[in-house]
């Protein structure tokens, strides 16, 4: 660093510390950052509590089943309980398993769609789609307003700081009459502007990184294997995003207009990238790929046999189902015992099989929407940034669609477990409880391509605006 640069930085520092308003803005942003971290953590901790409560309910349910195998049968209630525990004809639709999508540690920093989607389900052997669409309780007003989490502070507020600090980089001097003084120095105005830009870049990006590091450390251990890469990617994203905004401001300043003009232009850019572009994309995607859940609503109806006393109807349903599941065929007592239970098991499974197509179509439409919007993300680095952060924290649509697929698999495991016993007339034994289905969801890896892609998009746009600014300022000395 040469001495002129040092001098420039020293003076910039002096002006900076003298400006109370700017200091106040930094402090306010910092405080908002802390609050956002706190709020995000409390939201996600709330979800963790719910998960614990739900798991406790399941534990309680299953240990009460297991207990009936060892305790003395004294009351009618105990016997009923034992029937539920040991007879597949009752158990298949009563035993409830929880499928849980635990939050990533950094979900607290970018809540994304996590407040909107279910993150736990209680599944029984009954029709999957009957159980899939219930919502979590939430206040729609608060859903609409959205969360003030760290990603919001980074995506919305940090750019405002950058605008507030940089819009007058050249014009202030012009308006205050100090420009002439600068012009007679040996150092070029372009360099002066760049050094000052770099000064504020270090300052504001430093602040953004500081808040991020506080968030990353307080929400999870970044040195843990599953947090390391996300934490690193998060910090990179912050830097890249700041570079973009500084590049944009540099470009705006390079036109040498008045401060007010710069401020208006920068504010309009902010508005365009953070409000107008995403709002238009959202409304276009809604109308371009119209979706109506009314088509799915019918799936949630519980249907029964027309007449439970009519054995023929029951047999028909069972046979229709067995055509799909031949491995359950072959028991001698197929139509002799538990006819009604089998018929209902068959009925609800058939319903799933028959509605599979409808659900797939619906999900395909949702996926299409998602692809369409991600194709247009480059229009706004802010949207890309939000997307990147949500993917790092695993709180975006993709994760939940992945979760849904895992749910379907898990549901199949559950039905397999009970239906083999139901159709082969095997009671559930105490040792069978060792082998009950367990939900697991493998690590989704797809998000890293999206994260890298998003980061590349932002970097490219940052590079372009910076380059344009540079070309523009190159002309300054010639003018």
């Amino acid at each position: 660093m040469d001495s002129t640069t040092q001098t420039l930085i020293r003076y910039e520092w002096k002006t900076f510390v003298r400006n109370r308003f700017q200091l106040l803005m930094l402090a306010v942003t910092f405080l908002f950052g802390l609050y956002a971290i706190y709020y995000g953590k409390s939201e996600i901790n709330g979800q963790r509590e719910t998960i614990k409560a739900v798991q406790a309910l399941e534990q309680e349910e299953f240990s009460s089943y297991k207990a009936t195998f060892t305790e003395e049968m004294e009351t009618l209630e105990q016997e009923q309980k034992h029937d539920i525990a040991s007879l597949p004809a009752y158990a298949w639709y009563r035993h409830g398993y929880h499928a849980i999508l635990p939050p990533h540690d950094y979900a607290a920093l970018a809540i994304g769609q996590r407040d909107l989607f279910r993150y736990y389900y209680r599944l029984t052997g009954m029709s999957l789609y009957y159980q899939l669409f219930e919502n979590e309780l939430a206040n729609p007003v608060n859903l609409m307003v959205g969360n003030l989490d760290l990603s919001f502070v980074l995506v919305y507020l940090i750019p405002l700081l950058i605008i507030a600090f940089c819009y007058g980089l050249y014009s202030f001097d012009k308006e205050n009459g100090t420009l002439v003084l600068l012009q007679i120095q040996s150092v070029s105005i372009q360099k002066v502007t760049l050094v000052r830009l770099a000064f504020y870049f270090v300052l504001i990006t430093g602040l953004a990184l500081l808040i991020s590091i506080i968030g990353l450390i307080s929400s999870g251990n970044p040195f843990q294997i599953e947090n390391g890469a996300p934490a690193f990617a998060w910090l990179i994203a912050v830097v890249v995003y700041c570079v973009f905004w500084f590049g944009l401001l540099f470009f705006i300043v390079s036109f040498r207009q008045s401060s007010s003009f710069n401020a208006i232009t920068a504010a309009s850019c902010w508005l365009l990238l953070l409000i107008v572009v995403p709002a238009i994309l959202n409304v276009v995607v809604t109308t371009k790929y119209p979706l109506s859940s009314t088509t799915l609503a019918g799936l949630t109806r519980r249907t029964g046999l027309e007449n439970e006393e009519n054995d023929e109807e029951a047999k028909e349903v069972i046979l229709e189902f067995l055509a799909h599941k031949p491995e359950l065929k072959g028991s001698d007592s197929l139509f002799k015992q538990n006819l009604l239970a089998k018929a209902y098991a068959a009925l609800t499974s058939l319903k799933d099989i028959n509605s599979q197509n409808l659900v797939d179509q619906y999900n395909a439409q949702v996926a299409k929407r998602n692809t369409w919007t991600s194709d247009f993300q480059w229009l706004s680095p802010a949207v890309s940034m939000q997307d990147v952060l949500a993917h790092i924290a695993e709180t975006d649509l993709v994760t939940f669609m992945y979760f849904q697929d895992a749910l379907a698999e898990f549901h199949e495991e559950i039905t397999d477990f009970y239906f083999t016993r139901l159709f082969w007339e095997r009671p559930i034994l105490l040792e069978d409880y060792q082998a009950i289905p367990v939900f697991n969801i493998s690590e989704a890896n797809g998000q890293w391509t999206i994260v890298t892609g998003g980061l590349i998009k932002i970097s490219l746009i940052a590079g372009i605006v910076f380059l344009l600014g540079f070309i523009n300022t190159n002309r300054w000395s010639k003018a």
Partner: protein, 478 residues
């Protein structure tokens, strides 16, 4: 008066000369046009689907064949939330409220399918609606238009000339405000016209009975809101030493009022009053449906008592001897028992929602944006209150449906012979098709007194600041 008009005309001329303002203004007009068109399109799409599906479900109900009424009550039917024409103006909570519900005996289902679930997290940036343009973007345009209104006169020395000619400062201010108001009226006139047109065209088959009133109130609401912003901005410009400062102050205010405060308040309300999880909520209801609220009067006890009452009343020894099928009666009694439990828990849940939303209402005293946001949704019929009203109507319909089925069962079937009786289309037709009318604007607005008061107070405050406030004015030649 003459002077006032001269000022107004001069201000308008100056504003029109400003290219940036023209560009921004035309952008706003275009955005509103896009928003209205897209809003209308999605209204049409959703409405036609809902109308179609609704008719299908009605046919399903009517043509379900002959069966026992209780099975029909379980077969149930579906209700879909109608989309209102005014929602194409302000989507409000539409993306975050469930859109369909399954109605059957014994269980209260919740509304399912929040449309926002079919989107990536980008949906949380918001959807473009004319309401968004008017309440978020237009204020910014106003700021850009007005921040120099005084500072420029001061910096160029013309303010001194004006005042020395004996014109009262407040008259200049009013002149400027009027000028900006007329500019905004011109910019927004196509929109307001469109709004009125929309409200008169599609009155038929609408669930909103008083479209025209609502549209008029909506225009009035935004008129007041934008006037507040104009007057406030001019006042800030008057009090600022330089255009730059005025702009910074105004932008900070906008940021605080429109972006930061709504989120913070909503988040705080979430932290203050936390919601139970659906699983726990349902588990408590299921438990209480057996044991009774707080374990008082379990279901079995309640039903046993009822049985005894009936036996005593009709002076018979067993329910089989009753002149009607007691199963229908006990089924209905069980239903009502369950409803009481459900209502008890639902009320508790609603209280939490209300407390959360009340915090927003109260905050609107400090932030006219919040008032306008709530009132605008209310007038569009996309607010929380209208949704709650709709939910109540739906639940009432469900209860009536189940009651009719149970009554028919009691009157016509025999005790213990469940499959011996089948009802048919005559009974299904007795159940009217579900239809919904929103409450009138007047009724809805009754829930938004705080917001209305807030707007009134802000209005008085601003007018007082301009007319009555005799604080120090910055030196005229700055």
């Amino acid at each position: 008066m003459h002077q006032l008009w001269i000022i107004v005309i001069k201000e308008i001329k100056i504003a029109i000369r400003e290219k940036l303002v023209l560009i921004l203004a035309s952008t706003i007009v275009m955005l509103i046009a896009v928003a209205l068109y897209a809003g209308y399109l999605s209204y049409q799409q959703q409405r036609s689907i809902i109308v179609k599906t609704k008719a299908e479900k009605r046919q399903e109900w009517l043509n379900q064949g002959d069966k026992h009424p209780h099975i029909a009550a379980h077969y149930g039917t579906f209700v879909f939330k109608p989309k209102t024409a005014l929602s194409s103006f302000d989507f409000g909570l539409d993306a975050y409220n469930g859109t369909s519900i399954y109605l059957e005996a014994h269980y209260q289902h919740e509304f399912m399918f929040r449309p926002a679930q079919d989107h990536s997290s980008m949906i949380r940036f918001g959807e473009l609606s004319s309401a968004l343009v008017l309440k978020v973007l237009v204020p910014l345009l106003i700021i850009f238009l007005t921040f120099t209104s005084y500072t420029q006169e001061r910096e160029s020395g013309t303010l001194k000339l004006l005042v020395s000619q004996g014109i009262a400062l407040s008259r200049i201010t009013w002149g400027k405000i009027l000028a900006y108001c007329s500019i905004m009226t011109v910019i927004l006139s196509p929109f307001f016209l469109g709004m009125l047109l929309l409200s008169t065209i599609s009155v038929q088959q609408e669930s909103i009975p008083d479209m025209t009133t609502r549209a008029t109130l909506m225009i009035l609401l935004y008129g007041v809101y934008l006037f507040l912003f104009i007057a406030f901005s001019v006042w800030v410009s008057q009090r600022s030493s330089s255009g730059r400062n005025a702009l910074l102050t105004l932008l900070s205010c906008w940021m605080l009022l429109v972006i930061l405060m709504p989120k913070t308040v909503a988040n705080l309300s979430e932290s203050f009053y936390s919601l139970p999880s659906m699983r726990e909520f349902k588990a408590t209801i299921e438990k209480d449906k057996i044991d009774g609220i707080d374990g008082k009067q379990p279901r079995s006890e309640y039903l046993a008592k009822l049985r005894k009452q009936y036996l005593e009343k009709y002076e018979v020894d067993s329910v089989q001897q009753l002149p009607f099928n007691y199963e229908g009666v006990s089924m209905q009694a069980g239903e009502e028992y369950g409803n009481t439990i459900y209502d008890h828990h639902m009320d508790k849940l609603q209280k939490i929602f209300e407390s959360q939303n009340q915090l927003v209402s109260i905050s609107s005293m400090f932030n006219p944006f919040l008032s306008v946001q709530n009132l605008s949704m209310a007038l569009a019929g996309t607010d929380m209150y209208t949704f709650k009203h709709f939910e109540d109507v739906v639940e009432k319909y469900r209860r009536e449906l189940v009651r009719r089925m149970n009554r028919d069962m009691a009157e016509n079937s025999k005790y213990g012979d469940f499959y011996g009786y089948e009802a048919g289309i005559d009974l299904w037709q007795e159940i009217e098709d579900f239809s919904y009318r929103t409450p009138t604007a007047q009724e809805v607005l009754r829930n938004y007194r705080v917001e209305l008061t807030s707007l009134l107070l802000w209005m008085s405050l601003i007018i007082w600041l301009i007319i009555g406030f005799k604080g120090n004015i910055k030196p005229i030649d700055g």
